[in-house]
Structure formats: C-alpha cells, structure tokens
Symmetry: C2
Subunit: 742 residues, 2 copies
C-alpha cells in the first residue's frame, strides 16, 4: 500500500463528509466572528431558581453520590459564564424547536449542563475535521434531544451547524434533521432516535477503540487513545437492546466508555413510576459497571466534572453516571412534565422561561462572551490533530508495517489486490454448505483485510464464523478478532454499527440464524440508513435447516430485506457465488450486506461466477439462441441447483432453456437496461422462479404471466429433504410449471 | 349471551385442540396400561455418581441459598422412585433425540428434576383437557429442550404425546416438533424456541391471571387462581426481551410467576464465561424479583420443593429460582459441555450414560412403577376440573353477570351484536387522523368486549390507545385495562402473545409507531405462527409523520408484513375503514392483525365501507361500465384520498376511472376469482397504485404493465406536506402515470 503523509490522511477523512442527500450544501460560508480570546466576561443573568423535584428517590445506598460540597472545584472558568453558556444551549434548543414548531426541548434543557461540560471541558475533537481519527466520540442515544447536540456542535465551531442550520431545524434538506443522522451532519457519529441503539453503538465505538489500541499502541506511542461518551435516557434504559449491549460492555471491561444516564423520571406517557420502577443502579452493578450518582444535574457542574474524573480513574469497567436532572429545566410551568418532552413550549411559555432564566436575548442569540469562550475549540482542535499527526508521523517511521495497516483502517482504503485472496471453486470442487464456504472466505479475507473482525450471537459453530488464526476479543485479549456476542442479536447488530462507523476501514461482520434477523432488524435498518457497511452472515436460510421447525425457518425474510432501502440482500448458491458475495460486501462500505447461507450441502454449479454475481442476476446456462429461450428458470441460493436440474431435464426434452441465478435483486436493479434485457428479455414471458421462501415480490421478476414456486406458509419440523418434497420445492414442480407456460 | 353449563364450557375448550396442521390425527388411540395404584416400587437403579462442576460460582452472598440439610422433606414419595422417574424423563429425551438423530438432549437431562417436581408434585392440570381454564401454566422458554416437556406430558397422560409421538420426534406431521408449538401439541401453552420469547409469554400469562382474578374473584369465590411456571436458560437471560419482560413483571408484582433459571453455564459457543459474566442475581433483584438459589439442581429435589414453597410465600414479587444444574447430567463424557446441547449423544455415549445412571431399559421404556406413580394425574386432573366446575356453577348462580363475562373470556365466544358498537362515519364526518379514529373504535369496543385490554410502549398519547373508561393495570390496580408497557416493544409483543393464549376471549392490543415493529418483529412472527390474535395498533405509518425523519418513517414495513404468513396487514383510509379493520381484527382470533394508522388528518371518503374492507380490496368509485374502466387507480390508507382526487380529475377529463381501496392484500387473496375479477379485471392492465411506502410487491397488483407510485428510499425530516411533494406522492403523479397507460 502506498504510503501517504498523515496530513493527507486527515484530509481523506474530511472528504468523507461530502455526500449531501438532498442537494444541500456541504461547506457553508465560514463565519469569522469567533474571537480568539479565552477570557470570559461576567454573566449578566441571575442564577435560576431551582425547581423542586416532587418525587422521592431511593438510591442504592452504596452508590458513590457526588454532591457539591464534597468535590473540588475543577474548572477555573467563571461559573456565571458557564451558566450563560448552558443557558445559551437551552435557548438555542428552545428557539429552534419553537421555530420548527416541532421537536423535543425537554432533554436539551435538562442535559445542557452535562453537554456543556463534555464539549467545552472534557472532550478532545477538532471542529474543522469532524473525522479526525483520534477524537473522542459522543453519542446522543436519546436522539430526540438532538438540538442539544446541534447547539453544542454550533458553539464548538463545526461548519455543519451554522446559525442558519439551527434556524432550519427539521426542515427539508437541512443539516439539522429531527434526529441525529451521521450521514447528514458531520460531527454526529451515528444515527440515533430509535431508543437504545445509541448506547449499543457507543459500546461498538468503545470496542473499536480498545481493539485498535491493543493492536497498534506501542509502549512509546499511544496512537489510539480516546473516550466514548454517551447520553442515555429512561427510554434507552427500558429497551432490551441496551441491556444486551451494556452486559457486553461490562463483560469486556470497556473502561473508556462513559455513559450519562439522564435520570429525569419522565417519559412520554408521564412519570416513569407507571412503567419503570426497577433499580437501574443494581442492574448496572450486576452488569459489571461502575455506577456514580450525580444528584444535581441541573446546576452541579462540579459534581459532573468530579464524576467524569472518577469514571476515568476506573479503567477496567465502563461507568454509568446517573445524572438526576429536570426535564425542561427552566420552564416554570412545564418543567418536570411530559408536556415538555416532545412539543414546542409555545410562545407564552418561552417568554416565561426567558424571564425565569434571566435570558433577555432574541431567539438564536449567542452572547459575545459565550462565543468568545467557545472560540478556543477551533484552534485547540487543530492543535490536537496536529499533535496527533506529528505523533503518527513518528510512529510511521518506527513502525511502518503497523502504521500502514492502521492507515488502511483509518482511511478505508483496501489493501491492493485483497480480492485475490478469495477462494475459487470449480464444478469439480466438493459439494458443501454455503455456511462452510462462507467460513473459508472469512478466513481468507482476515489475512488480507486488517479491519475485518466479528462474530456470532452464540452460534459460531453453526454459523461457521470463527477466524481460525485469531483468538477471542475479550477483556484481557482485546487485540483478538473473534467477538463473542452471546445470545444478543439486537445488541450485536447495533454494536457492529458502532464498530463500522468508528473508522472506514473496520469491516465488522456478525452472524446468527437468518430467521433471527427479526431480533435485530431495527439495528440492521440503521446500518442501511446510516451507511454502515456491516456484513450480516446469516446461515440456516430456509426450510433446508430441517428439524428445528417453523420457529427457525425463514420464509418472509428474503423479501423483507429486498424491500428495505440501501441494504444488499445476497443469496449465493455455491462456492463461487459465496466468494462473490463477500467481494461485493467488502466493496460496499457504505451499504450493509446480508448474506443468506445454507445449512445443507450444495453442489458446485457450472456457470456460476464472481462477475455474474456482481451484476445481481446472470445466466448460468442456456441452450437458446438470439436471446429467445422457450422458458427462463430463475433460482437463488440452494434452489439454483434445483433450477439447473430442471433445466437439464427440459433440455433433454428438446426445449431451449435459460437458467438464471438471481443472487441479488438490488445489484440487478442497478444494471443497464441492455444488460437486464440480455438476461430477462421482455419478449420471453415464460418464466419460472424457485426459492424456498415466500413468493411475495417475485411477480416483478417473472411478470404477470410467469410462475413462482415458493412457500407462502410457515415451515415444519422434519428432515430437510422431506420438507422440500412436501412443500413442492422440486425440479418436478419447476418442470410442471414450465410446461404450463410453453 | 346464552348461558351454558360449565361442562359445556370445558368441552368447548377441549374442541380447540382439533386443528391439526399436516393432516395428522388429533385423537390417538387411548392406551389403558396406566394402573391406578399410587404406590411406588423400589427403584433398582443405583444413585448416579455426582459430576463435579469444574467452575467456581460467586453468588451474591445475600441470596437465600437452599441446601439439602436446611430443608424439610416435603414429599413422601420414595426418593428412589423419584430418581427413577427423573431418569425416565432423561432417557425418553435421550432416546427420542437419538432416534431422530437431531435435537437437544442436554437441557432435559439437566432439568429433569425440576420438571419432575413441577409436573408430578406441584402443578394442577387436567391431562384429558389441556385447555381447562384454571390450570397452572407451564412455559419452556428454553424451547430447544422440548423433549423435557414432551416426556412430562407423556408421563402425565396427555393424549397429545403418546409413545408413538415420542418415537416420531421432529418428523413430518408429528405432535412432537423440534420446538414446542402450541398449535401442534395440546398441553403446550405457547410457541417457544426463539430465545427469550417464552419468559415474556409467561409474564403475559401471569398478567392475565392477575387481571382476571382481580376482576372476577369474589371474597367467597376464588374462581381464577393459578400459577405460571417457566424454565429459562442462559440464552433467554442474555436476550434483551427477557430483561424487558422481567422488568415489567417486577414492576407489576406478578407474585404467581415463578421462573426457574437453568443455570448450567453452557451455551452453544461453550462456557458462558466467554460472553455472559454479569450477576443475574443482582440484575433480577434490581428488577424487583425475589431471587432464590438452588445449588444442587441435579438431585436436590427437596431444595427445589423448598424453593417453590418459598416462592409461593412471596406474594408481591415474581420469583427467580436459580437452579444450578449440569447440562447433559448423567452423560459421563459429554455432560457439562456444549457438545451435549444440540446433538444426539451417539450410540456409544447413550450406552455409557445408561451404564452411568444404571438404566438397563430399552429405548422409550417407561418402567411400570413410574407409570403407576404418574397414573394418578388423570383422575386427579379430572377431579381438579370437576371441583372447579362445581365452584363455577356456584359462582354463576351468585354472580350471573360476572360469570357470563368470564365465560365469554374462557370460550372466546364474542357477545352477540358486539359489532354494532363500532362507530360509523359519513363523508360529512369531520376529517381526522386514523389514529384518532382508532381510539374511538377501541373505546367503543372496550364497552362491549370484556376481554379487550392493552396499551402502548410509552406512546399512549401518540398512538391514541387509552381506554378512557378504565384506569391503569398496575400492581395494586390489576383489574384495570390500560397496560403501560414502557419503551419495551419486543417485550410488549411477546407479553401480548401470552395474554392472548391465556384464554380465547382475551383480546390484547398493543401499540407503538409502525417503524418500531422492527423492534418486536420476532414476537409478531410468533403471534402469527402460534395463532395468537393480538391486535397491533401501529400509528405514524408513513412519511406523513413528518419532522421526526427517516429513523421514524416506515418504508418497507407494509411489504414486510404482507410477506409474513398468517398475519393480517390492514391499512385503513378513513373512519369506516378503521372501524372495519377493528371488526376484522376482533373476528380473527387465531390470526394477528396489524393496523397501520396515520398521524395526519385524513378526509372521510365517499364509497368506503366495512363490507368492502372485509374483502380486502374493493371499488370506492367508478364511472365505467361493463367492468371496463380506462384505468384503475389503487390506493391504501392515507393515499386513497390522493387516488380519489386523481380519479375525479381524470373523470373531469372524460376518462372512465375506477378507484380501488386495497386495505388488506391477505383478505383480497382469500376472495373468489369472480370477485377478484370484478375489482381487478384481467383485461384492464392500465393500473396505477399509490402508497407512501416501498413499491416492492406491487407488481402483483398492478401487473407487468401497470405503474406503482411509492418510495424506494429512506424518508426525510421535514413537514409532511413537503415530503409528500418532494417524493412525488401526489395526485399529479398518478395522473401523469395514468396518462402514460392510456
């Protein structure tokens, strides 16, 4: 791989920002009003009246409680200025939601203090290069509170969130959509909103850091070294996915993961008392986390600072900082109620809040002293990156091999010739299950792709996903590349999204039985939406799994992913097609791939090819001429063999038969009309498809006059061969269907 | 409602068993070899050598640990006979898996003692009427261990599992499929296998009991009174759904829910140490459960009994009994390893196990003394039911109104004329969001359907699901009918499956945003598979939700449910269609319904009707004659209004236009060919569909020559009207498409 300077590296990263979705501009005009001075002016606002909380809290008494009196003053900045900065955040959120007449002001108002402390005092980032590799990561798992993050990015000097962006909150084509979207807003790491996803993404980000640090850091060069911060709400806490991910975070000892739990006791339906009375503290202690309680999250800056300091000191466990806040803090009539969660305050209440918090300013106003205070982050961020670049240049000299590998991970540039590692097969190669062929591919690729890592949800020996040359990624062996997710499909998917979005060159894969994509579909949809190139290795892809029965047999799953935007559904039929599927999946770094694989043995078929699969659908055999077969037989995966057999038989009977492998509908859709016509000529309406799955959707391929052989009911528990026969997934059925069309 | 005797009631229930799937017999020939004597013979088998556990266990020291010495002897049956019975269970499992050469022997071998104690000593049931209303419920959440349950049902005298059924384990058409399936095997309450579902089902069963008990029990008549038992494994514990459901069980104080945690430290990938090191005890205590540890689950019958006794004494909390067992107990070379989890032992190891456990018998042999011992359950069960019938007859006399209601819940017979309560609308009724119209229906139905109860995953005020005449189902108000699920979609769905399968007349509904069906899809699939008539109230069903953006906007979801077997996907367009959707959903008690509803206001359309919706697709307006329109415009839900508008405009231009509402594809599929031809005549290929969702699948309806207007990308954050316009979901787009077809 060609060597490049570290600066080029950063620029490469920065260029990733430039894929706007709705034709909106990527680079806004720069504003030069930031003053370089770091000195703060005295605030003119009065201290807000504290809002009493009307509920009793019964904490586990052994929790370390951080209270004002007990902590040292950690930051020398004038508290009044901090109040002012915090109120700036609050009012930017209030004003943006008010202007949009849509959004969630409650969380930003309650979480502004922790947000301020994080972005202004704790986190290391470079506003002018949101993709600087060694930045601290921040995830707003409670994504509905996105105005908090937009306000912080704005104050910190990110070009992605200028004043005009705040003013176009939740509008068509804006950089400030209704929930944080990494593909729209540089500075946003992952896409959140669906609750619980963000905390699991954060676990993935922290895993990636721990893994890369273990692989690339040297005693004399800590080249990978950042924290992952996340804010989670009551909603995230209730979702099962967060328990899955947090159980793993505790198991892996992700000491640089620090989660703030916005403990405000309000969710959409009202007080959390109505549905959420568990002891979160006990649960997290059970999960192996360090737990700290900040009792005053509304104004207790020092408590928040002290908690972070303590969290950093605990290096072998992730930390949950429970921060008790008041949702909608500052709103005299709506704070501490669900009414402030998801609606604009309304002009009258905005006015009352301005009065209550002593905020005389116009909407969207950032006071000069606050601007000045925050303006240091642009030069500071540039310094952070420059220092790191120097360090990396040094590292590159001393450890050229590691540096080259790490650079490939940072930039996403695949090592030249990597695809030559893919195994090849001939019709003479022995028959095998595609899940086994998949393992051959994974193991071949692991040798040439430094960023490939992954694992299974407790089915490694069934999914065939172990990388034989590596051990397990565990608390004390984080340099290894086999991840053991346990039976936690949903957490697994979302963790992989975090891993994928950590660095463009990390290629996470994860595995379970195809039917259990139902457990992780929400995470897979976010892979697709957030352009995370996760590879989903999904074995046992049909009734062909046999005796486990209908609970384990996918029927509607192929169709359900073909219907999902921006995800590749691949169903290879043999060795060559499996290798091709991996080639496609690895190349598609901004689109996830689902590879459906068989449990049962399949023949290596004549005519299959990598080039064919790359086109989605292609001819594997044909005895017709002039693009005029009597019939086109179309199969995918394990049924391609059946289609090929039926084709042979029909040819023996003198028919002109084309057999087509339709491994990926999405890829076929992307081909030219000419190519499509060359495979499925419009004039040939005699078409028969076969797939051991629902026929739903197949009309698109076979047309109104064609026939689809499939399964439009649930499966059954019996040996695979018996089920195939009983359900009529046979060459005989194809031949009978074809004969009706001649 | 007509009154019927209690006996008829039971018979009605029993008749529910008779819907075999694969043409296999429902009633097998009865075997008369059970002897009525309860006396046990001395066992000839030697006590098995204890298998040492090679791992250290660090329990929370405050857990009540039940050890042999500490507990009173609770059962007078000869321990040797119990050993023999337990070994019978083990060998029935071993032999069945061996014969099938497929299955999971490890769990039954480890859990046989707790299974024996439950079915032989603790549970109240009637083998000859598996549907007796007041039976204790048992759920094997670790469903792969189904041979445990089949062996127990067999010993207890259920007709569903005769010796020949054990011998046809996992074979085509058998009553003993690879995972427990309620629709195949009377005596199995719910369908498990996908991990974590069963424990959530059990929470639903226990909720139903608590709710019905609160509504119908009287100081002088405890007519509803049973326990719910469940066995969960390490896999269930890792799944997020189980944490969701158990958090709710703790919150609701389901004191009659008793869960056995088969703590065997082995999952498929090996020792749980590799991925599951959390403290389950601490977590469950945090969730508000009572936790007990049985250290010797392999032979400690008295400890198991004592734990159950203690669990029953704790009335305000569910209990987790952690039972430490050895997976594959008795197998000298495979016990305590993953190799015994999911494969047959193999002839050699079966032999060694027979030797080790002192089991000289032929495969599938049940020793006479064991048979004798278990034979009391048939007469005992009949007595249980007879006593209850007497009690119910008494109750009916004293409380005729309550009895009639409860009977409707028990039999599933809907009160006569219930559908008259459905609201009706005319085109003059005011425009409204279908989510609001849905609430009108729910509230109207709650008055006439005693079994209707449900709620939302923390979105009651957005999904519009509150029943205004009722309060919240809570720990101390279990008689109420609004369930607050918190942000726990997956748990919600599976809990509703449990509620639905408790009694045929309970009609649970649950709600969230339509896009978040992705979180609960695994539970919804099991609704469909297990014939649980849950009503899924899914609002915010398209880009029409606006500003929340693509994370919240469903695109592929309609298609994904249309592709799923045995589930009704309904998308009503206005008031009449919403009422009709509820009518359909209520009538379909063995098929779940998903009702997709709009956030935005929709007009009441001329031509919509309940009768039309019941046919799935129907004409709402037409100016053609002889079934020969120039074009057919097809819409669903919020887009039907747009189709109607386009139709009007094309008619103004002199065209013959038919507008069709296609509210449910499944229902349309079930109509006669004649009816289908009357709506979509084959000769009319000029068809345009419009739906604010993926076009995937629409070729089936519009044909190869038709056009589909839809959205084959992710949505966007902006006001709804703007997105509709930008995405081209407009009357203009329909008109343009239609004109290309004339």
């Amino acid at each position: 791989m060609a060597s490049s300077s570290s600066l080029t590296l950063s620029q490469a990263m920065l260029s990733r920002a430039a894929t706007p979705r709705h034709g909106s501009e990527t680079t806004s005009s720069s504003r030069s009003s930031f003053l370089p001075s770091l000195s703060g002016l005295k605030s003119t606002c009065t201290t807000m009246s504290p809002i009493s909380r009307c509920r009793s809290i019964t904490p586990a008494t052994r929790l370390p409680i951080i209270a004002s009196a007990a902590v040292e003053r950690l930051d020398k900045t004038d508290t009044a200025l901090i109040d002012k900065s915090v109120n700036t955040i609050r009012f930017l959120a209030i004003d943006a939601v008010e202007k949009a007449n849509s959004g969630h002001p409650g969380l930003p108002m309650g979480c502004a203090p922790m947000g301020h402390v994080l972005y202004d005092e704790i986190m290391r980032y470079n506003p002018k290069n949101p993709y600087w590799f060694n930045r601290d990561r921040f995830v707003l798992s409670a994504g509905h509170g996105c105005m908090l993050q937009y306000a912080l990015l704005h104050l910190a000097g990110y070009d992605s969130v200028k004043e005009e962006d705040l003013k176009s909150f939740r509008q068509w084509g804006s950089k400030t959509p209704g929930h944080p979207e990494n593909f729209e807003t540089p500075g946003v790491e992952v896409t959140t909103g669906p609750l619980g996803q963000g905390i699991a993404n954060a676990v993935g980000l922290a895993l990636a850091e721990k893994h890369l640090a273990a692989r690339y850091n040297k005693p004399d060069a800590e080249i990978v070294d950042h924290y992952t911060y996340v804010i989670i709400g009551d909603g995230c806490q209730m979702e099962g996915i967060s328990n899955e991910a947090c159980s793993l975070a505790g198991h892996w000892g992700l000491g640089k993961l620090i989660a703030f739990y916005d403990d405000n006791h309000i969710s959409i339906d009202g007080d959390t008392e109505i549905a959420f009375t568990e002891s979160v503290d006990s649960r997290f202690e059970g999960l192996g986390w360090h737990v700290i309680w900040v009792k005053n999250g509304n104004t207790g800056y020092d408590e928040i600072r002290a908690a972070i300091k303590e969290a950093k000191a605990v290096k072998d466990k992730p930390t949950l900082i429970k921060v008790t806040t008041t949702i909608g803090f500052g709103s005299p009539n709506k704070a501490n109620s669900y009414s402030v969660h998801g609606s604009a305050l309304g002009a009258k209440e905005v006015e009352a809040t301005r009065k209550n918090l002593g905020w005389p300013h116009e909407p969207f106003h950032v006071p000069e002293d606050v601007k000045n205070h925050w303006s240091r982050h642009v030069p500071e961020g540039a310094s952070f990156e420059a220092e790191w670049n120097t360090k990396f240049a040094e590292y590159e000299k001393r450890y050229p091999e590691e540096a080259a590998e790490l650079k490939s991970i940072i930039t996403g540039e695949l090592p030249a010739g990597w695809e030559k590692a893919l195994p090849t097969y001939t019709p003479e190669s022995h028959a095998d299950a595609t899940r086994n062929l998949s393992q051959q591919n994974l193991n071949a690729l692991a040798k040439v792709l430094p960023g490939l890592l992954g694992g299974s949800a407790d089915l490694a020996s069934s999914n065939m996903t172990l990388l034989k040359m590596f051990g397990d990624f565990q608390k004390n062996t984080p340099e290894e590349r086999n991840i053991r997710f346990g039976v936690r499909e949903h957490g697994m998917g979302a963790i992989c999204n975090g891993i994928a979005l950590h660095s463009p060159g990390i290629i996470p894969y994860c595995a379970t039985f195809f039917v259990f994509t139902d457990y992780m579909r929400a995470a897979m949809r976010i892979s697709a939406l957030s352009e995370a190139g996760v590879i989903y290795v999904m074995t046992h892809d049909s009734i062909g799994l046999g005796e486990d029965g209908p609970t384990h047999q996918p029927i509607e799953h192929l169709a359900s992913f073909r219907a999902m935007p921006n995800i590749l559904m691949l169903r290879p039929a043999d060795g060559n097609e499996t290798a091709a599927s991996y080639k496609v999946a690895v190349l598609n770094r901004q689109r996830p791939s689902v590879i459906a694989l068989s449990r049962q043995k399949l023949a290596q078929l004549p005519g299959t090819s990598i080039e064919g699969v790359e086109k989605g659908g292609y001819i594997i055999s044909d005895n017709s001429s002039n693009n005029k077969p009597d019939v086109i037989l179309i199969g995918t995966g394990s049924e391609l063999e059946i289609a090929a057999k039926a084709g042979d038989q029909l040819r023996n009977e003198g028919k002109k038969v084309r057999v087509v492998s339709f491994v990926s509908w999405e890829l076929f859709d992307e081909q030219s009309d000419e190519y499509k016509e060359s495979v499925l000529p419009a004039a040939v309406t005699a078409r028969v498809s076969i797939e051991a799955a629902t026929t739903f959707g197949w009309e698109k391929i076979v047309g109104s006059k064609g026939k689809s052989i499939g399964i439009d009911r649930f499966g059954a528990s019996a040996p695979a061969g018996k089920i195939y026969k009983e359900f009529g997934i046979t060459a005989e059925a194809i031949i009978a269907a074809a004969k009706e069309l001649f």
